[in-house]
Amino acid sequence: MAIIINEDTNVIVQGISGKQGLFHTKQMLAYGTKIVAGTSSSKAGTTIEGVPVYDNVQAACENHQIDASVIFIPAAGAKDAALEALEAGIKTVVVVTEHIPVHDEMIIVAYAKRVGAAVIGPNTFGIVSSGKCKMGIPPNQFFVPGPVGVVARSGTLSYEIVGNLTAQSIGQSTVVGMGGDRVVGLTFVDVLKRFEQDPETKAVVLIGEIGGNAEEEAAEYIKEMTKPVVAYLAGKSAPPGKRMGHAGAIIERGKGTYSGKVEALEAAGAMVASVPWEVGSLIKKVLDLDKQFNWEPGALRMREERLDR
């Protein structure tokens, strides 16, 4: 098991012949991803790394069963590419592209909601179901199978933390990058719900950052979760970000600060690491607890003492 994608997921790469598309197609194939088709109007009819290339998604769908798409199309064409994949009935669409106009992102996300599909990103490193399928751009060597689900807002920081987990022999069920933009498809809550349902996932790592209120919303759901959650929030010592005039202030009303987020998460029963590499040791404790005490739902969040901080 894993969430969203697995070893049977048939993947299409939109924009397979571009610089990024080509490089990461090789990397994904090397990781074991089942890439069954790619799109590129200039290379249609050829194969790239053994993958047949089509004019567009529709043409590929006429020849293959496709479950998921990963998009490497430049920003100006990314909305069209995502809508194309969604309209073709593809239910998992990973948009790696960054710098997509936010109005385009709102359109993509609204349409995905309507057709009942999951969009990961935009501006995401992608998703890895460790040892089974990788869609996106993370380096292959750090993702190994195991019991920890990871969901993150930022890319490199996730590699950092996943790398640390792997170095401590803690593998991952699935690692999901939500994407760094203001409007993205799957949110923390969407991903946490899936981890909660996934029998292979025993604990969850949430990697957030200051600004916005995604972590506060996650905290609301974490209250209901039976699985332990360890969080790290970047930006404790970072300069405050820019605000969106009065309107932004009205929407956020005091949310978005480091301390507010930590408070919300801890109140919900999550443990918050103060530096990235502390995540591994917290997870270790959590999983040891599991073995020693025959883990019961909710047990962890009732513990009064904080772990080695």
Binding site: H24, V102, T156, N164, G212, M244, H246, A247
Partner: protein, 372 residues
């Protein structure tokens, strides 16, 4: 990209949204001329990209051209929140019967635009009680339908049969058009003034999505950044100056923040925030180091976890900068991820051993800064 008030009002006017008579000027003499054209008391408003303009004395009133000239003269000498006043807007002074608030922005957690309105507009909108703030999310596929605008007007307590209601509905629809057609992140009118039978936008705050500027060729360009920030931005770098003594460069906002947190954890003080983003070449790396060195750091940490960024590219760029320009302070490099072996081999050639873990590299950088 934030637009100056006068630009926002010009944009409003092209969408049929009523704004006060007047125009922007660049000299006191012009201010007097515009006041004369208007022929009634005027308001003279400094044009700076700061929200605190009113409280800082950046808005003045005058009864005649002479007064307008004098007021403009004063404003042109001012600096508001570090921003010099180069432009002022001279407008008719409105008869204000009531001040409303109206804006549309993006609610990231709802993933859709949100219309915000209040019958209690004016300077202190952020202080207004939640119960007087109306929020309505807009379905982007449905768009701004009449009934939505009408319901918001009703909830503001304006009788739907009034002229004001009819005008407000038009204003809301126009504002949404501007928001979507111009790729805005924010369109805000505060105050939106009821003046006799009319409804007039007495202010205009418009922010355009930076990622969409390329497809808005008709909009004026406003340079918000300092020359340094702009140079960094043009190379895909995100740079902020801080108070400490350890130079920082990392790839990705999250890991850069994580690096700052780690340095702080070990008792160090970062001199800057520099996110080199994905895939910065030699020019970018050179510029990044130049920006960092300008802060006179005692040590530098470069923390790269390659994904879309490839380690060999970073190493090559760094090695080249080191050889060609030279780096006068100790540099600690952490380098893992895509193509890490190639990258490490390149660094070895210039005498640098890369670290595997951020914490080790950060601890070393803090030590080095203390030693220097």
């Amino acid at each position: 990209m934030k637009m100056f008030e006068y630009m926002g009002k010009e944009l409003f006017a092209t969408f049929g949204l009523p704004v006060p008579r007047g125009r922007m000027v660049k000299s006191p003499a012009e201010a007097a001329k515009v006041a004369a054209e208007i022929g009634s008391p005027v308001v003279i408003k400094s044009q700076v990209l700061s929200g605190k303009r009113g409280k800082a004395g950046g808005i003045k009133f005058a009864d005649d051209p002479e007064g307008a000239k004098a007021a403009a003269q004063e404003l042109f000498g001012m600096t508001i929140q570090g921003l010099p006043v180069d432009i002022v807007l001279v407008e008719e002074k409105l008869q204000i019967d009531k001040e409303l608030y109206l804006s549309i922005t993006i609610d990231g957690s709802a993933k859709m635009p949100v219309l915000i309105a209040s019958a209690h507009g004016g300077m202190d909108i952020e202080e207004v009680d939640e119960e007087y703030i109306i929020k309505k999310h807009i379905d982007v596929e449905l768009g701004m339908q009449d009934f939505i605008a009408r319901d918001v007007v009703r909830r503001m307590g304006i009788p739907l049969t009034s002229t004001h209601a009819q005008e407000l509905i038009k204003v809301i629809k126009s504002l949404y058009k501007i928001f979507t057609q111009k790729d805005a992140e924010l369109v805000e009118i505060n105050p939106l003034v009821l003046s006799g039978d009319k409804v007039i936008a007495a202010d205009a705050k418009v922010t355009i999505d930076d990622e969409a500027i390329y497809r808005q060729p008709d909009l004026p360009w406003v340079e918000e950044h300092t020359a340094t920030e702009k140079a960094a931005h043009d190379l895909g770098l995100s740079f902020v100056e801080l108070d400490g003594d350890i130079g920082v460069m990392a790839n990705g906002a999250g890991i850069t923040m994580g690096t700052l947190d780690t340095l702080t954890y070990y008792g160090g003080k970062p001199a800057n925030f520099l996110d080199a983003g994905g895939g910065t070449g030699e020019e970018g790396t050179a510029k990044a180091l130049e920006l960092i060195l300008a802060r006179n750091p005692k040590s530098i940490i470069i923390n790269i976890f390659g994904g879309i960024t490839r380690c060999d590219d970073v190493a090559r760029a760094f090695a080249s900068v080191k050889k060609n320009i030279g780096i006068p302070v100790p540099v600690v490099i952490r380098l893992v991820g895509t193509n890490q072996e190639e990258g490490r081999a390149i660094l070895k050639e210039v005498g640098i051993e890369a670290y595997d873990f951020m914490q080790d590299a950060a601890r070393k950088a803090v030590e080095l800064a203390k030693v220097q």
